[in-house]
Point group: C2
Chain length 193, copies 2
DNA sequence: GCGGGTTGATTGACTGGTCAATCAAGTTCG
DNA sequence: CGAACTTGATTGACCAGTCAATCAACCCGC
């Protein structure tokens, strides 16, 4: 194995292990030792690569948000009309890649961490700003000056379904939620158009 | 001071201190020592009364949910019509007593804890069931068989605004959110009636 | 092509600190 | 007095982070 890729692949598997461990434990209360063991390395190596536990956790958060962003981007490329952009954003939020228990639980845990960790807060606000921006861009041509209020409502609806899913026991059923949010969106557009 | 009431008042002030400490720290990662110090007693006393740290935290969660339930009950007594019941539920969710940073942050932290703690999960599901039941009871006369779907949507909207508030920096502005949710409710009712 | 030196990868053992929980002793009040 | 109350001190467990040492791959001058 080439030297250069060693560090990157080790870091990647440690981040994956961190996300898995967070999901398994249901909170950010995980130890470096457990993350490292899950990744098949020693805890010392995790420190060697990341410097501190916090950096591992932040890297995990970045990874999750990057995944969410990629999903959104991919869904948006095929959307021609503003209404289609709305659908794409909704579909991406509850899509298979993002809307799985592992990600939802970790996301929720980071929400709590953002209370006291400036870096986590910044990342979280970035996610919110991106979601809001996507919604606004699609809503503006449809409802004009009502766009900000509608964007706030849709964002809350999406986040609310997300967080409620975290409390359910069964597997996540994104399709049903997509249909529900789409229906509400249609009603809101009809009323504000 | 009477001996009998000593235990109750000590317990109450420890629970209050726990909630305050959770809010100050932004997570459930608090120590018995800090809770006890905030309440003006030794950590040993906290253990004496509650037996374990977990019991203190669960008591704090119960206290918060009890507060939420009391707010809802109080708002509902004056509601004569189904639509008024909906308004009461919305108003109670974002009312001053429930919708303050301290409670929101603690509530979010408990959401995470419910992932791994069966007792916390049970309490959280109780809250969700109560909210859902309130909404259903008010919606059934208004929209009939669409009530479950609408209840799910409104619950997600409420929880979503809650959780998004936790990420904001400024003080919580419940009035604006009440107006927003009320407007959406009117639209949904009009469409499904 | 090869041997010695350099560099990164990896580990086990250790440290310093924190914290929940316990205990035994002291205090207060009926 | 004696029972409930309260505390400081202690214990045992856990964990993040450090360190010295080993190991494997690559480089380079000969």
């Amino acid at each position: 194995m080439s030297r250069i890729s060693t560090e990157l692949s080790r870091k990647a598997s440690l981040v994956d292990a961190a996300i898995a461990e967070i999901a398994a434990r249901g909170s950010l209360d995980v130890t470096v030792g457990r993350i490292a063991r899950r990744a098949g390395v020693s805890s010392a190596l995790a420190h060697h690569y990341f410097g501190s536990k916090d950096r591992i956790l932040i890297a995990a958060m970045r990874q999750i948000l990057r995944q969410l962003a990629a999903d959104h981007r991919q869904a948006l490329v095929a959307a021609g009309t503003p209404r289609a952009r709305l659908s794409a954003t909704i579909r991406a939020s509850f899509g298979q890649a993002s809307f799985q228990r592992e990600v939802i639980v970790a996301w929720l845990a980071f929400y709590v961490r953002a209370q006291g960790d400036p870096v986590a807060r910044r990342l979280l606000l970035l996610y919110q700003a991106r979601l809001r921006s996507n919604l606004l861009y699609a809503l503006r041509p449809l409802v004009g000056s009502d766009a900000p209020n509608l964007a706030e409502t849709l964002a809350a609806l999406i986040d609310g379904h997300f967080v409620r899913e975290a409390a359910q026991s069964g597997p996540a059923d994104g399709a049903k939620l997509i249909a529900s949010v789409e229906a509400v969106t249609d009603l809101l557009l009809e009323a504000y158009a």
